[in-house]
């Protein structure tokens, strides 16, 4: 059944953009007219055009830019004033701002202006120049909202590509850390920054990613959340195959191990690939906490994982099919609470589970000032009142609350949703034949998970199939003892540089 969900390979050839390129004219009037026409300057109010006479060559110079996405002061100090006042032979002597690019055709002109640059035409020259004066509005670096830690850095990615790259570079000083750029989108071309360590990353995976980025034929991909959906192999799949994080420190950790990180403007998050089950299961704090506590939270998370996917389903299976498994005290207590309930147990569980999901969904969407009320109203109405009205038995409230609460222990938002959906699958399967069908469904679930690959890397690796790795799966090792990079992504240099001193660490 699973190939059913696999997206058929996109064999479509890349659209050839062989439209004849219009090169820059020598006549500045023509250039001016053509550019204005391209940007519909008569109705496009923030498209700005200025003409000055340059002092160094005594020629007319035209300047085009979007006033809303450039830094006006920079234009004045970096372009206008030098042109009016400075002497020199060529324009490079006059405009000394950090980047000055020569342009030969109008396609590039359009691109440059769109990405916040000012384009300069000089009379009698068939070369235009673009100057980087971009100043897109973005938030400052703030705390992560969804992946909080107690111990550890508290910076999150923000919606500016430059800031995001800088946040990663800040954490990994190495000349081999590459921030390569690819353009995606046909109508609105946006930059995607691929960050990786050149001498670690597996070239096959890198090529695979680049190919996929190039082969995207789409009008516009404005952020990494959308990019993730264009890149993944199985869009119908329950499980995520690309790790999404808003923490630059977590992304930097992966880069160090040879993974690839994708960044974009307009997203306060990064995509990390290839991703395995473990990368979703772990939290950055597992490493920041000391060895024992880090592993203690792992145990908690594993327990929570089991409880959240199985508690409601097991409850249905046991009470509906295997009442002999329940100790008599509990059995009589449950029976008593169910004596006056009009609904079958399965419906009861479904009602409560849906109610819990509703509270959660409402909690996210509700306007801020109303936030606290939702929690109180939800807990009160759905819990207390439903029990008192005799619609729900009190034990169901415990079971549903438990399975709902434990689902928060899976901090990764992508895996979290997968787990929540799986829970409903298991609830349904348990209601068919009890434990028998529940275990069957669990088997299929695990088999399916094991069959997934993320950019060629098996989902459960390095556990199965086994690879040399730091052993960071169920539990993590003492950091000093981590000798290997994850073998499943085939890093060029498998061994880390920390060879533990024998007898260095005492229990």
């Amino acid at each position: 059944m699973f190939p059913l969900f696999k997206k058929s390979e996109n064999k479509e050839n890349k659209q050839q953009t062989n439209v004849d390129k219009v090169s820059i004219y020598k006549d500045i009037k023509k250039n001016e007219q053509y550019t204005k026409q391209l940007f519909s300057s008569d109705i496009n109010k923030d498209f700005t055009f200025r003409t000055v006479t340059a002092k160094y060559c005594d020629k007319q110079v035209d300047m085009f830019f979007y006033s809303s996405i450039v830094n006006n002061e920079k234009i004045y100090k970096g372009i206008v004033r030098p042109l009016l006042e400075a002497d020199g032979k060529t324009i490079t002597d006059v405009i000394t701002i950090e980047s000055l690019t020569e342009i030969k055709d109008f396609d590039t002109v359009v691109n440059q202006i769109n990405s916040g640059k000012a384009v300069i035409f000089i009379d009698d020259e068939d070369t235009a120049y673009s100057v980087n004066v971009a100043d897109f509005q973005a938030r400052t670096v703030q705390k992560p909202e969804n992946e909080r830690v107690v111990r550890g850095p508290k910076e999150a990615f923000t919606e500016g590509l430059g800031t995001n790259v800088s946040l990663i570079r800040k954490r990994f000083h190495n000349r081999n850390l590459i921030a390569e750029t690819a353009l995606v989108g046909e109508r609105s071309q946006l930059e995607v920054s691929l960050m990786y360590v050149n001498d670690l990353v597996d070239k096959d995976i890198l090529k695979n990613v680049k190919d996929r980025l190039e082969n995207l034929s789409v009008d516009n991909i404005s952020n990494v959340e959308l990019l993730e959906q264009y890149l993944e192999e199985r869009p119908y799949s329950l499980f995520p195959t690309i790790l999404y994080t808003e923490r630059p420190d977590y992304a930097a950790q992966f880069i160090e191990d040879g993974y690839i990180v994708l960044l974009m403007d307009n997203s306060s998050a990064a995509l990390i690939l290839p991703a395995t089950f473990w990368s979703f299961f772990h939290s950055p704090e597992d490493r920041y906490s000391r060895f024992l506590f880090g592993n203690f939270t792992r145990i908690l998370r594993m327990t929570a994982f089991a409880i959240t996917i199985l508690s409601s389903a097991t409850y249905i299976a046991i009470t509906n099919f295997h009442s002999e498994m329940i100790p008599p005290d509990l059995l009589l207590a449950i029976t008593n609470s169910r004596e006056r309930i009009p609904l079958p147990l399965f419906i009861e569980v479904i009602i409560m589970e849906i109610a819990f999901e509703l509270i959660r969904e409402a909690g996210i969407r509700v306007p801020n000032p109303l936030g606290p009320t939702i929690g109180i109203v939800g807990a009160l109405i759905l819990g207390q009142a439903a029990v008192e009205a005799g619609i729900i038995s009190p034990i169901i409230v415990i079971v549903a609350a438990l399975s709902g609460l434990t689902s928060f222990a899976i901090s990764n938002t992508s895996l979290n949703t997968a787990v929540r959906i799986s829970r409903f699958l298991f609830i349904f399967s348990a209601s068919f034949f009890g434990m028998f069908s529940l275990v069957g469904a669990l088997f299929l679930w695990v088999i399916y998970m094991a069959s997934i690959k993320s950019f060629g890397v098996p989902y459960f690796s390095p556990l199965s199939p086994s690879f040399k790795s730091s052993g960071d799966m169920y539990f993590r090792n003492i950091i000093k003892h981590e000798m290997w990079r994850p073998g499943q992504i085939k890093p060029n240099n498998l061994q880390k540089k920390n060879i533990p001193n024998k007898g260095d660490s005492k229990p």
Partner: protein, 418 residues
């Protein structure tokens, strides 16, 4: 692709259409906690028995919301039938829910019925059905099982399953009744050697027996004032599935000390004071090691069985105030006296089982089995008729450690009363 979709759809229909085959809601079931089996009053009704089902009322004794506080904690129904399982459906003529034997704790059979030997036939169901567990305890009641279940009204534990669970566990721990589940019943009965001991209980309290020591009683004659009406004490002896005799509490306990297959924790008991025989010494009998049973099997001669029971003793009352704790001479005397008392008691029981029963309630046939190469050889040797009744049995109790509690000295009577 389309074909796959159809296949997938049809396959998932299979689940939906067959689903919920076994499903039953909890409140649609009645949980039978105790089953009673009696003979019917009429003699000609062969193969027909009287079954009593005691059903727990889930609404009593739970703190969960819901009424039913004035309802009784149990419903006891009696009806005639030919076997345990089919009688449950007949019972639905007057019980509103499906009777489930999954949570049954105990099967009570009347002494009268047990002595007929028909019990084995009725219990065969337990081997076939998935409902009746192997761990269900078998209880022999002096009166009719029906009366026992009806009269048994515990005061503290209103919920019947709790009562049987606690009552049987504790009484088994201290050894006054044996641990007797269905599984063991079949094991011993089908092994065709050894005797099976089942707890003996009653709610009919007779004239109490004269006081003869802490546990020389059987159920019904334990002097008791106040408390619940039912007594569990002693054991019914089953030979080949048929009840033949009753052992009192003390004998039951001795049998337990000699049997390695039962767990005995610590047993409080009294022994005669060797220096001042009018007083008793109280102590806790602790068995930490297995009894060693060595059988020297001789095919044509007398088999000798050497039994050694290592045990420890913690003395907690010496009413005679004799200094046993520090005077080594006295201590040796006490040690020897306790060993002798236990040994003589055990010898009496062994003699009784050799002469009266012709088999042993200690499950000792286990130790003779390794003398035979085939089952047939073993069966021909016949433990019950040939080996055990004629065997020469030497039994010794070995006191390995004697403790005197947390205080070594007793009150010096001369100093107090000067």
């Amino acid at each position: 692709m389309k074909k796959q979709y159809y296949l997938f759809f049809i396959a998932s229909l299979l689940f939906v259409l067959t689903g919920c085959y076994d499903r039953i809601e909890l409140e649609q079931q009645a949980y039978v906690i105790a089953i009673g089996i009696d003979l019917t009053d009429k003699e000609e009704e062969k193969g027909v028995f009287k079954f009593t089902y005691q059903i727990a009322n889930p609404e009593v004794g739970t703190t969960a919301s819901g009424g039913g506080a004035d309802e009784p904690a149990r419903e006891t129904v009696t009806l005639k039938g030919s076997d345990l399982m089919s009688a449950t459906t007949t019972a639905n003529a007057f019980v509103s829910k499906e009777l489930k034997l999954d949570h049954t704790k105990v099967i009570v059979i009347s002494e009268e019925f047990a002595r007929t030997g028909e019990f084995l036939r009725v219990l065969q169901t337990a081997g076939r059905t998935t409902q009746l567990r192997g761990g269900v305890q078998i209880l022999v009641s002096k009166e009719n099982a029906k009366d026992f279940l009806n009269n048994n009204k515990p005061i503290m534990e209103k919920r019947p399953h709790k009562y049987y669970q606690l009552m049987l566990n504790r009484a088994t721990e201290v050894g006054i009744i044996p641990d007797a589940n269905i599984h063991r019943f079949f094991q011993i009965t089908e092994g065709d050697a050894d005797l099976y001991l089942a707890p003996y209980a009653t709610t009919e309290i007779e004239e109490p027996k004269e006081y003869e020591g802490e546990e020389n009683f059987i159920a019904g004659n334990v002097p008791q004032e106040g408390g619940s009406q039912s007594q569990f004490m002693g054991s019914a002896v089953f030979k080949e599935g048929q009840m033949i005799d009753i052992l009192n509490g003390a004998e039951t306990r001795v049998a337990a000390t000699l049997d390695n297959t039962v767990e005995l924790t610590s047993v409080f008991s009294t022994y005669q004071d060797p220096i001042k025989p009018e007083y008793q010494i109280a102590g806790s009998f602790i068995k930490k090691q297995n009894t060693s049973v060595e059988i020297d099997y001789k095919k044509n001669g007398t088999t000798t069985i050497d039994v050694k029971v290592p045990f420890q003793m913690e003395i907690f009352a010496i009413p005679s105030l004799v200094n046993y704790s520090q005077n080594m001479k006295n201590q040796d005397l006490l040690k020897k006296s306790i060993e002798e008392q236990l040994t003589s008691f055990a010898e009496d029981l062994i003699k009784k089982s050799q002469e009266e029963y012709g088999s042993d309630p200690f499950y000792w046939s286990l130790y003779v089995r390794d003398h035979f190469k085939t089952i047939k050889e073993y069966e021909d040797a016949d433990w019950n008729k040939k080996i055990f009744p004629n065997a020469d049995i030497n039994i010794t109790y070995e006191l390995e450690r004697l403790e005197f509690g947390k205080m070594i000295n007793d009150t010096n009577l001369n100093e107090v009363r000067d």
